[in-house]
Structures are given as C-alpha cells and as structure tokens.
C-alpha cells in the first residue's frame, strides 16, 4: 500500500520552533511528528510514502533516509513548485500512487491521533466505494465543517455543512483518508482543495464514506494545540499502560502522564506532572515544578523554576526561580535569566530574556 502525507509549508503557525526545524521534524511526545505517522503507516503494511512539500527540505532527507532503512519502506519527497492546495499534490504524485491498484492513504501532517490505518483500510474494502474519510466527534461542531450522512445510512456521506448554525451532526473531517486510485481522475494538476472540490464531487456520485475515530484527535499545528495534543497523547499512553511513561511510583511524578527520556537528569525535590514531556539530554535542577509542558532535547531548567503550559525549545535555559506560563514558547537556544517571569512569550531563537514579559508578546 501507499500513503501521501500533506506537509505543505514550513509550518509558520508553529513558530518559533519551526524557525529551526521543519514541522514534521519537531518532536511530539519525544518522537518526531513525521515518525509517529511513518511508524503507524508501516505497521499497516504501507511500503511507499510520499511527502508532499512546497519547500526544499534538505534537512529532512537525512532523517527520511534513516526511516526508510529502519522500516524497509520507500519514502519520496514530492515538491510543489507552487502550492497546490490539499488535492493538487495527489495529482502531482499520480505516478507513484498509481503504481499498483491498491488504495492509498492521505493524511495531514498536523494531525495527531492513534492512526487506525488497518481498521480504516478494512472498512474501506468492505464498502467497496471510492473513498473513506476518518471523522471525529467534537463538542462544538459549529466551529468546523460537519459531515451529514445519507438518511438511514451509517457511513455514506450526503453532504458537508461548513460551520453549522443549527445542529446537523457532531462528526467532523479528521484529515485522514483512504482512496482508490480512481479518485485521481477527479483531480486536476492545479491549486485545488480536496475538501471543497474533490469531496463534493465524490459525494454527488455516492462514493464517499466516513469512518469513526476511536480515541483522541488533535490538529497540533500551533503551540496551544501542540500542548493540548501532547496531553491527549500522554493520556492515551497512560490508558494503554505504556512502558514509555515514567512510573507514578517515582517520588517526583505528580498526577501521572509524565514522559521522560532516559538520558534526561532530574534534580532533587522536584514536582513533575501532570502532562510533561522531557526530551533527551535535558537537565532539570532541584526543586523544579513542571506541569503541562514540553522540554525539548538539550534544554535545561535550573533550580526552583516553575514551568507550566510552555514549550522549552532545544538547548534553551530557564533560570533559577524563573516562572513561565500561558503558552510560552522558547525557540532554539533561548536563555531566560534567573527570577524572570514570562507570560505567553514567543521567544525567537538565540535570545536572552532578562526582564519580565508580563503580557503575551513576541520577542524578536
């Protein structure tokens, strides 16, 4: 089987992290975002993966070569010379996608969930129509495009209603699909939208079904959602009693959902959790309080600091008695001086912050 991952641009919404690495290479739950997807696809029997990007991803090639070897699969990069939207990239990769008759997966690279590719493929085969999209239940459907089924049908889609005022359903497009190769006949090689052009066309021909997602789902394209998505991911690991999580019997673990790379060092009298990810080679000092935060590799949080709802970028240093909160994001190699308070600061790489940031601000 084959898969196409829609990566698109460099991921400006996830700046300042994406000023240093393209989004697919940012670690989510101590694993690069793209690797979560490659792992799940390989496990479902996918042998060819296409990354649809619209920038020159030199830095990605090294990692992709590694993953090809690790999983015994082919990974190719399909570069759009101009952005082709969400459907155009499929047409651009037509040759690979049509290399055999098996259906192929399409996924947005921003989406995190438990990736039920095997189940999706089985369901798709069972109904025999052209496409299946994964849908997820949301609490506030009025903010999204909602899927409406044919009367009396469990899965066949009748229409999409964008931001419905009146309740018409609570299932939304989760950004993960499987299609027969014939879908490529519906797409032209031009900037075009899968959601707004391809799907309505398929619905008209009764060719599109939905598949309910079990478990969590999150678009982690921006820092706030990246943090929320991490919490959901860690909760799902806890539910599965994953060995990856640090056991709650550790004296510093507070409230569970704590993921710590074995190479990280934790000081004395810390209180860590819930929902904390600590990457490789991170150093956490004594008396540190961490909750709902991500410490990326090589970062350091000094003694008595207090960090909440924050992403600490690679190699950054948080000073003693510093306090970070309210979706603060530190880019690569940022230094927060001792005793400084940062409220919702987005700090670009290589900056040193010496005075309080009292209100959310971008520090250039």
């Amino acid at each position: 089987m084959k898969a196409l991952i829609l990566v698109g641009g460099f991921g400006t919404r996830l700046r300042p992290l994406t000023l240093t690495l393209p989004k697919p290479l940012v670690e989510f739950g101590n694993k690069r975002m793209i690797l979560h997807q490659i792992e799940a696809l390989a496990a479902a029997g996918v042998t060819d993966i296409i990354l649809a990007v619209n920038y020159r991803p030199e830095i990605m090639e090294k990692y992709l070569a590694e993953y090809e070897k690790e999983f015994g699969i082919n990974i190719t990069i399909s570069i759009e010379s101009e952005p082709l939207g969400t459907a155009g990239p499929l047409k651009l990769a037509e040759e690979t996608l049509r290399k055999d008759d098996t259906p192929f997966f399409v996924l947005n690279s921003d989406v995190t969930c438990e990736y039920p590719f095997k189940e999706l493929a089985a369901f798709h085969k069972s109904h025999g129509d052209e496409g299946t999209i994964i849908v997820t239940k949301v609490e506030e459907p009025s903010k999204y495009g909602v899927v409406v089924h044919k009367p009396g049908h469990q899965s066949k889609i009748d229409r999409f209603v964008e931001k419905p005022v009146e309740f018409v359903g609570n299932r939304i497009n989760a950004g993960i699909y499987i299609f027969n190769t014939s879908v490529l006949d519906r797409i032209e090689l031009r900037p075009t939208s899968i959601e707004n052009e391809t799907f309505p066309d398929m619905v008209k021909d009764d060719q599109l079904h939905s598949f309910d997602l079990e478990g969590f789902w999150m678009d982690v394209g921006q820092p706030k959602d990246f943090l929320t998505g991490t919490c959901l991911y860690l909760s799902s690991l806890a539910k599965k009693q994953s060995k990856l999580l640090t056991p709650t019997t550790e004296p510093f673990v507070y409230g569970g959902n704590v993921l710590i790379d074995p190479s990280a060092k934790i000081g004395k009298n810390c209180r860590i959790g819930p929902n904390v990810t600590i990457g490789p080679d991170v150093v956490v000092g004594d008396g540190v309080r961490l909750q709902r935060c991500v410490l990326l590799s090589g970062s350091k949080v000094k003694d008595h600091a207090w960090v909440k709802s924050t992403i600490v970028g690679w190699n950054s240093v948080v000073g003693r008695w510093a306090r970070l909160e309210n979706v603060t994001v530190l880019g690569d190699d940022v230094t927060i001086s001792d005793e400084v308070y940062v409220n919702g600061g987005s700090v670009l790489p290589h900056k040193t912050i010496k005075a309080n940031v009292d209100v959310p601000a971008i520090i250039m």
Partner: protein, 440 residues
Amino acid sequence: MSLQIPHHGKANGNTGATKAVILVGGASRGTRFRPLSLDVPKPLFDVAGHPIIWHCLTAISKVPSIHEVYLIGYYEEHVFRDFIKDSSSEFPDLSIKYLREYQALGTAGGLYHFRDAILKGRPENIFVLNSDVCCSFPLNEMLQLTQERRAEAVILGTRVSEDAASNFGCIVSDSHTRRVLHYVEKPESYISNLINCGVYLFRADVLFPSIRTAIQRRADRPRLGSYRSSENLASSYMFDEEDSQKNEVIRLEQDILGEMADTNLFFVYETKDFWRQIKTAGSAIPANALYLQKAQQSGSSELSAPSANIKGPVFIHPTANVHPTAVLGPNVSIGPRVTIGPGVRIKESIVLEDAEVKHDACILYSIIGWGSRVGAWARVEGTPTPVTSHNTSIIKNGVKVQAITILGKECGVGDEVRVQNCICLPFKDLKRDVSNEVIM
C-alpha cells in the same frame, strides 16, 4: 542664674544643651501607609530590622550634646510605651518621652503646645525631625553649620529631579553662603530643585517666638494660603474659617519656614547622601534598602555575613528560621520568628514577624505582612522603580498601580500562585493568580 551662658561661639567647640523632637503624627494621619498602618503605627514599622523612629533615635544618639528626646504626636499613650522602654536601655544617654497632643495641632502647633517641657533646662538648640523620612540624618554637620554661620535655623535639603521638586517644600538659597532666601511648600510652578528633607535645627530662642508670631498672624488674618486660584477662593476661605475655629493648626512648612527665610539667619545644609520620604507603604522598600546599605557601609554586626546564599545587605532576626538553601538579598529584612523554607528566593523585600514562606517560593520587591503564609512555588512580586525615583507607583497599561506588592497581616498565598503589583488587605487568602489589584 546670673552667669548667662553665651548662645554661640564657644572657643573650645563645646555647645550648649541640645534637645531633639521627633514628630510622629497620629493614627488618623499616614493613611497612605495602609494596609501596613492598619496593624502597626507607621513610626513603629520595621525597616532594616528596626522601627522607623529607631533610625532617627540612632542618629540623635550620635550628637553628644543631646540628652533629651521628645516624641510628639497624637497616638494613644500606650502606643510608644514598649518602644520607649526598649530604647531607653539601648540608648542609656538619652531620656525619651512621649508628649501626646490632645488633638492634631500641626507640626509647629504641637511644638508650641509643649514649649514649657521642651524649654526646660534652657536648651540652646532644638532638632526637629519628621519621622516619615529616611536619611542619614547628618545632625552633627547641621550643628556645625549653625555654629559656623551663627545661624538661627538650619534646614536639611537635598536635590531631586526638577519634575519631582514641586511635590516637596522648595528652598531657594544663596549658592555661596547657603543662606535660605525663599521657601515655598509644594509650589505649582518650578522654583528650585533643592527640597526640604523634613529635618531642622532651630535656636530655641528663635523657634518659639516665630511660632507665636504665626499664631498671632493667624488670629489677625485667617489663612488663605491653601487656595490655588481665584475660582476656589470662596470655598477655601470657608474651609479655613471652620478649620481655625476648630483648632489652631500651625505647620512648620506652611506657616513658619517662609517667614524665617525673610526675617532670620536661616541656612540650608545640603546632603549628598540618601534621602527618601516614607509615605506610602511601598516606600518602606527603598527605605529598607537604604538603611541596610548604610548598615553595611558602617560594618554593622547586625547584618548576616555574606555567603553564596546571602547576597548582602541582609538582616535576619536572630529568632527567624531560614533554611540554608534559601537565597536572600540584596536588601532583605527578615523579622522575628519568620520561617523561610528550602530553595526560597527573596530579593528587595521585607518579611514581617511570624510569616512563613514555603519551599521554592520567590519573593521580589514585596512586603510580606505579619503572620502571612506564602505557599510552595508561589511568586509574590513587585516591580523595581528607578533608584532615583521618589514615586512608588508605576503606570501599567495606562493604569497607575503600586510598584511594591504588599500583603497585609495574616494573608495567605496558595501554592504556585502568582501575585504581582497587588496590595492585599489583612486576612485575605489568595488562591488564584492576581495582578495590578487592590484586594479588599
């Protein structure tokens, strides 16, 4: 007594007896020192480990010719009883008495009311100190100037920025002779940046006649001095009339000093040393810092020895319990029986008696009230103001807020809670983050 002691110019440098008066005010004054003055009279509030008026007394005790000190104010008798008892044993050469005004008489009115007590023993000179200032009190230098110039009055002056000057009494002096040519209290327009520090030295035989003259003047012609323009002339007159019927409030600043500049040998001693007013509660923080730095410079044994975790100057009361991993200073005072937990950070702050600060908390530019509790990983924070500023408020998002965070008596800050630029009245528990608020 047929042998009259000459007023001045004794060849051997000895001087006649000198007395000192500290004006302490009363409970109905000093409301700007709330919430701290809700629980302790402002003159007795501890900065750098001692009551504000202890610092005045210490300076007075260094003048050899002073043996008698009066505190004049309208607090109840018992308020200063313990302080006077303790100070009398600490300063055995000083006799300290509290003279209570039956009602607020004004700074000069109070002096005049107690003239018989003050003049007893025929003192030659009288120091008058406002208790709400923080400075090095260069009293011996003022006394020396009196002798050199045969002055009848000397005022302590300091230079401030031109913007700040009009908030104070302004002195115009002859730059060469240092004689005061003109004095005006809180002028509307810029007059001079040399301002009144609230510390005076008067010849006894000049002070009381000057006050008497002012009282006489008041009786002849009710004061109209407080009106600012012709529009409110009528209302200010009404107010004044009522005021003068009620009592005879005579103030040194408004009623005496201006006249003295015209009629007397009145000089200014300009200090280059530190000087601050202690008006708002937040101003206790710069005062604390300045007195601690002074103690450090004079090598005071009261201060904690500097170390990796003590960044001097730091005062820790002997009965306080500070964990060795806590990092304190600079400019921190820790009161009696205070408990400071492991990994705590305190900078530019006063922690008052019986307060408790739990592990890993951080306290910056704040006053922690008596018996207050600060939780683990809590952050209580004010905003530093420029060293030269005489203002304790700052503008944040267009709103004026107090720079120093103050917790009144027995307040609580929950674990991990952040309190920034807040004034918290006594007995409040803060369970959520707050900033830029007064919490009733």
